[in-house]
Symmetry: D4
Subunit: 220 residues, 8 copies
């Protein structure tokens, strides 16, 4: 288990991360972390590693692109002084290209996406004990779907940035693949982006695998 005793993990992203979390900073009493993977991560860490007392903070904001992350980075990441940071961004950067194709000013194209994410990562990495980068995804098994193809390109950019900056890489698109062998995407998500609780557990599990989590807790 890579995260250490009393360390703080901030998880930032878009609506997939947000899931109705408490504003402005989601941590603490009354289950403020929203109904998504962040709550699963926190509950599993606390239930399996009670001796570690890891702090989990949800800073996801619905609708965000990497542009929005950049705009709130100081207040919502740096000022919180995380030990660990996870970033899951890019879904909206791509989606807007397909659901509002006429409004090009709201599209974050690949070059801008990669440059912005890279810049955020490179300046922040030195202050972190650990960093996890999760890819955007599209719960669509057809690799020829135009939006899936685009999403895969953004995922590839995340992989490169992770490799370049000593970050743990989580391929969420790949994490959904086994599930899609057994059920249609309609059973996980009505819009192929926002998953049900099963889909959020897929995300949580992929994240936890990357940080060396064990279901049975720490070895004695």
């Amino acid at each position: 288990m890579l995260i250490g005793k009393g360390e703080k993990l901030v998880m930032i992203g878009d609506s997939v991360t947000d899931c109705g979390r408490t504003q402005p900073v989601a941590e603490g009493l009354f289950d403020p972390l929203g109904r998504g993977y962040v709550t699963f991560v926190d509950a599993l860490l606390s239930a399996c590693y009670p001796e570690l007392g890891i702090r989990v903070v949800n800073m996801g904001n619905s609708g965000n692109t990497v542009r929005d992350l950049q705009a709130r980075w100081t207040r919502d990441v740096l000022d919180l002084k995380p030990d660990w940071l996870s970033i899951c961004i890019g879904v909206n950067d791509v989606w807007r290209q397909f659901d509002i194709p006429r409004q090009t000013e709201k599209h974050v194209m690949l070059e801008e996406y990669a440059a912005t994410l890279g810049q955020l990562v490179s300046t922040t990495r030195p202050q972190l004990k650990g960093l996890v980068l999760m890819t955007p995804y599209y719960i669509e098994p057809n690799r020829d779907d135009a939006m899936r193809m685009r999403m895969d390109e953004y995922g590839a950019a995340v992989r490169q940035i992770a490799a370049a900056h000593d970050a743990h890489f989580v391929d969420l698109q790949a994490a959904f693949a086994p599930l899609l062998e057994h059920v249609h995407s309609a059973a996980i998500s009505w819009d192929r982006i926002h998953p049900n609780q099963t889909g959020h557990m897929v995300i949580a599990r992929a994240f936890l695998k990357a940080i060396g989590f064990s279901w049975t807790g720490a070895p004695a």
Copy 2:
């Protein structure tokens, strides 16, 4: 224009038809027909053919399968004594097979679908001046998608029933195809079933084409 002066058109179906219509019978004051294709059909008929005074009644109910139509057929169709009837059913019959695959008791399989719809049509057709059957659809251009394939089978059943009972046939799956050449399905519908207003206009236009509607109204 096939529908005549003062005739009543009842449009029945599921949520695509319902769209927030007034209960129990949607006709009359205060725009009760919902925010979907039925309102478009009514507004276009009234604006282009004011001399005909055609009555449009929306009897769609969200979530309905053909089983549900059968259960409410007497009260919601026969008792209203329509001159014209349009039926658009099947989306949920198929969808439930994919979004809740474990709950098989809620799946209406093809054989039951075709038999039930056929029985409703055959007993009702003699009392109607005109009947329009619209296919279910899935706003997914990939013909290999499992749910699209299934939906196509249901659409084929509708085509057969229409042919057998002197009904006008409207292929909604085909109606969406030109649009999907220019935009991704995400631009029309988040779940590939419930369209935005543009998608509802596609449905309305396909329906109106089938009944000989002219944008410029009746010839002088």
Copy 3:
């Protein structure tokens, strides 16, 4: 079809245009254009001309007179950089003279109306590819009704301004006339201003006719 590929059409006006549109700028996801003619225009353009990808933006504000348009012109028209602009204003300028006759400070008299609208048009026209001016109207067939008479005078002013500035002119009062030959105004509007969906389709159709729209889309 006069509006070209990817061009942006801004439609500004009062409550007839507004119809519950999203604030501050209505364009994009989740059908933000309100329940009126703007949605009809957008849905018909998108359904019939999917290859054009025309952007439709609703900037109507309930209760507005031409004074209010002037006050928000920079932010709500110029800053949006439209290619095409449609203006439908004047109903409230006249109506207030009749429904609150004692509060003369809220009446926008003909001279002020024509001067203000003319000034907005003359300074904006050079930046536009196309401009559409729609008349105010009163859904009252009696030409001797005092408010109808006044509305006709404002409509005549719009006609003059359109002619002077190379704008497409849409006579909405005339557009309602055929409908009123078949139904009483009470069947279209309770207050003879705010139409039902049929009346909004009458407006949309008059607008679309002015810009060369074809129900069957672009010629092959």
Copy 4:
């Protein structure tokens, strides 16, 4: 003043009478009589004739035609054992012919109207100390308007029934005429049926005039 000490006056009708009155029987504490002419009648009677202690009961129901009155006559009139009764019905009987012209089953034509009202009056009159019949009206000065013409016919029927059964007759259409010489109908009512408070005072005043009310109360 015709109504005597401690007598009960029941006022029945449609939405013009209802005005948000308390259900099922509107009398008593907390101003239950709605925001219309019934409250004005009650307040004026109580303020000017405190020594009489007249009971005023509002039994108007929005949307009612004379058919609806007939259906609830026993419970809503006879069971209350009024000394005086006022009836103001017919607006919806006529209006539906014009605002939903296609739904003819909801039209109460003149013959049925007169017959039903006549029957209610003839059987009830013997049990009453006094009866007041008020005409329906349309706040439209143009006598050639189709709906105004029809409303005038219904008013004429009320006049005949009043004459035939010893009822006080109140011509509300006539009562609005002086006001319309000074203001447009738009200043009194947006739909030419539901008046503002000024219009309700016109109704109350016409009613009170018919029963011998004096603004200065009873003579010493």
Copy 5:
């Protein structure tokens, strides 16, 4: 009738005047004047004197004392440029002495009351065509009740100020007296301050009497 054609009457006061009026300035469409005497005054003036077109504006604010009037006098009276002004203040000045006797900082004692009201009146009177001063009141017939006694003192102060500044004086305490000969105060008001609609008609009638109102309108 003292108020002339097209003149504006502003009525200011506390909750008895306010009665749910529209903020910030109550005049115009949709019956904005609240459910109290101001609406009665307006409806009676408009119904009986339609040819005068008098403007009635309700500027009452719930909970106000004369201190509060002073604080908002410029914005809420002078800026509106009334021709006629009516003031009904003092209820809360007295009431707070009795319902929160410990919080003496909220009591407006007689000397302050008279001085403040006198100052407002003396500086404003020259700009008015007419001024009406109405007394505070307590719907309690027992002249020995401590709060009634105090209220009477404030009423006497109003009378003096009216006499000194050429204002019409309305003794509301006296206006309620005839009603209280026939019913208990509980039948008019639960707290002996806020009257029901009958009580508001008593106030309206007393006011109208002071300005020469006639129920039958202007003499021919």
Copy 6:
């Protein structure tokens, strides 16, 4: 202290007792006893005599007269098998005679009041360990006020019934007297019936005094 260990005290009455209690039976978790004297009684008994574990049940219903108590006596008193019962009824029996004087069918006159209460008491007393009868009251120090006089008559009837059936008698009218020597009734109650928390404490204290309550709890 007369009430014994584990005994159940049911308190029945009108809105003074009800105070927003939980329906249908108010006892137990989450402070269900309402914001009035019943909560004070319960809290004081539990805090001062924790060893007794007395059950307090609030069965007050707003608006009730003794007629209403009679109608629900079996379900709301007898079926609960109380050891002790307190009754506080009569306020509405009297009040309706004054606030809706015209609606005589809602007045419960003295004879009926005394007979009904007497009958309930006489049949129930044998099944009780103790019974407390509290008088209705009117927080009005003027004994010549008509409603106060009537209330005193009803209070006298309660005193007689208590004497005749071995009940503890609580004179609530007398209990309020000392308070009214120091503050006006307006400081306790806006309508002279529904007291603020101070007034409810006056009631609770009078009740507790009757049953031998000691602020310092049971003697050692």
Copy 7:
């Protein structure tokens, strides 16, 4: 993994199970299983064993004791024809003895509890492929706390019933113990019964351990 392909697991209990689940039967779309351990169980089973398609149904009802389970057993368990059943009941049976000690009729004492649960289990077990019995618990580490002691007795009864009827036994009290070595009970639950998401994961984990669940899914 003991539960097999396509089998149905019904989980019944009180508010700890309910957690806002959908009524009347919680299964299927839109995450209907509530915010507690049932959702965790379902999400983990579906994410880790997608090939099994296990159906999870939440039938918990807030406030239930074993008496309530008995009353709804046929409709809520037997009629659903589960393959597997889990029961978690007893918290309220004990809690009511401590939070409303005076209302003994709401206490389900140990003998009744054991007899009722035993009867339900013995008659149902034959129809099940598997049964899981979970103990009630009190998140209080002090074994001398009166309520904890009582809860332990009920837990012991569950253990005996499980042993007697071939059920899997889950000791939830024991499951919370490791967590309480590191945090105070206040960090898991405000009332020591309803856990936060971490506590629910503790329950889910204990349940899953009993049925042979593996975090890494089925062995290849």
Copy 8:
């Protein structure tokens, strides 16, 4: 009775004091003091000592620690110029150490607590006629519970500060002890902090005892 005629008592604290009080300053009409001990104190003082007219002001704010009191001390205490002041703070200072143990920045440790409270007391005491310091408490009889132990340390600090500054000391932890001999803490409070009305009466009684209150009022 130590508090004198017309003196003002301000009671400040956290949610135990707040209980839904009116913001920003809770005093006066409509029972603004919340549903807790402050209302009980006020009602008992007013009912038993009506001649004193003591002013009670609730300034509790939910969630407050002593840090929060310090931040709002000037506005919420000094500016109100109290004669008497009661402070009940510390519950949250301790609780946060146990319910969000990971968020150490929200813990107010003993040293800071004592220093801050001491500073507030020492600077304010000279301006007061009397000061009452109440301890924080934990309704948990087990003295070995970690949170109870910590709370006892904070209570000891309060005792020292009271002794050092001539303040009346109220040991609320001790006040709850007799009650806990008869009922489990679950009968008073679900979270062992927020008491039901019985628990609030325990607090009110302990406070009143400290200031020489007598249930029978002032001696004659």
